[in-house]
Symmetry: C2
Subunit: 301 residues, 2 copies
Amino acid sequence: MKKARIIECVPNFSEGKNKDVIKGIAAAAGKVQGARVLDVEWNASHNRSLMTIVGEPEAVYQAVWEAIKTATKLIDMRKHKGEHPRIGATDVVPFVPVSRMSIGECVKLAKKLGQQVARELKIPVYLYEDAATRPERVNLADVRKGEYEGLGVEIQTKKERKPDYGPTEMHPTAGAMVVGARKYLIAYNVNLDTADVRVAKDIANVIRERNGGLPGIKALGFLVDGKAQISMNLVDFEKTNMDGVYAAIKEQAHKLGVKIAESEIYGMIPLEALVKMARDSLQAPDFKAEQVLENRIYGFE
Amino acid sequence: MKKARIIECVPNFSEGKNKDVIKGIAAAAGKVQGARVLDVEWNASHNRSLMTIVGEPEAVYQAVWEAIKTATKLIDMRKHKGEHPRIGATDVVPFVPVSRMSIGECVKLAKKLGQQVARELKIPVYLYEDAATRPERVNLADVRKGEYEGLGVEIQTKKERKPDYGPTEMHPTAGAMVVGARKYLIAYNVNLDTADVRVAKDIANVIRERNGGLPGIKALGFLVDGKAQISMNLVDFEKTNMDGVYAAIKEQAHKLGVKIAESEIYGMIPLEALVKMARDSLQAPDFKAEQVLENRIYGFE
């Protein structure tokens, strides 16, 4: 029996209006056996689309490569306008481990893809997040500084903007590309039993990692449908999972005389996040994803 | 996209010594496309084996049917001796809903199988548990009273032992069969930080359903590797799940001045048990199994 390894890749493309182009890119990825395009989203004012591709690592790699080749043919950055920052036709490509894959293996895939893009498509490639080759390239915003227009000048003149792979000039129509690896991001919101948004903002201030709170937690306070909401990204659920941040919010809310109304897991999560929650909350250190019947049925072949 | 429905079936056969027979029965089930024989266990002193077959309902039904036909050919009850109670070559066949299937749909499968066994194999069939047609046949032990030898006489003479389907006499070599449907059974143990087995027995007494404790909880106290252990079956995790019984044990243990050392999920559990745990413990009523990435990848086609 072979254990199925799974990764996710969420490439972002600089086209959010022309449905034929978006469909064409998705179709190129969808043709690859063993990979699945789970979701396609686009935004016209951002003029940008993103695809969620999942499956076995080799298949996802191939699907993303086919999508990039198609985007390189169909998108012309010289004509591109949109609200969202971007440097290329295929703008950002993060590889994300889901099951039985390490972040290190995803870094390897990112570097391999970067080299292939540079070599075969002559597009300059920057590595970011866990694949970054220097600290100042970890953050996506720093890599994208100046955008397509500004980077087009600096890539030729400034040593610190030299790409990791490929030419020191922009591809005439496809621009440049950012490729990397990151951990799975869980979007998780907690609604409070109050309409006072300041309570949500105060709690967000306390729990977010940047202010010395919980590791891997990004948090903001909003008012949503009349309820104060703490809206979060969990960027490393192995460090702080949903139950951990829920307990921390409950404690802070209690101090402020407020209760949790409900919480909401937004979008998809990896099975391992649920398995880890059971392991921790039940003190069951030996519990494994292989004990989940559905995973055993489908995850082995 | 088609949503994959999944059931489990755990047929018990009256052969626990002859490996060729056991393998032959498993091989017959394993040939059916869409069903998978996840596990085969046997016990020589019980002279009994059981198989865990999972997959789509129609495929599992067909796999079980093939296994029953093979067991009917290969096992002769007239020569069978073993410690475990039994009435037939294929002794018990429970259908269990796992994903997107109701207990009612499993009852229908059980009745359909019972009718086919009676019609084509001329074996008398008794329906039990959720498929039972009368209260006194819900409990397996009651149906199996007198075993193969005793039932062989009473089936012909006593009205209350008339089978639900098939002849009112035993099949000469295959005996009779019990077929039914039940909910998924989770085996869950909690170890206490004490070697005093009386503490485990006391807590088991309080939490088990029979004594007015938690719904769907069967519990016993043991001493295992020097630790007092509460060993449980959760026969309806929709009513009482692992987190619920863990919390109840923690509370009882606290009263007795004892702590939980660790807990252990034994064997397989359905994804829905984990999803329900997250839904309840995070107050996240909208969270669904479809949001688990692995389930989305494999569970849809």
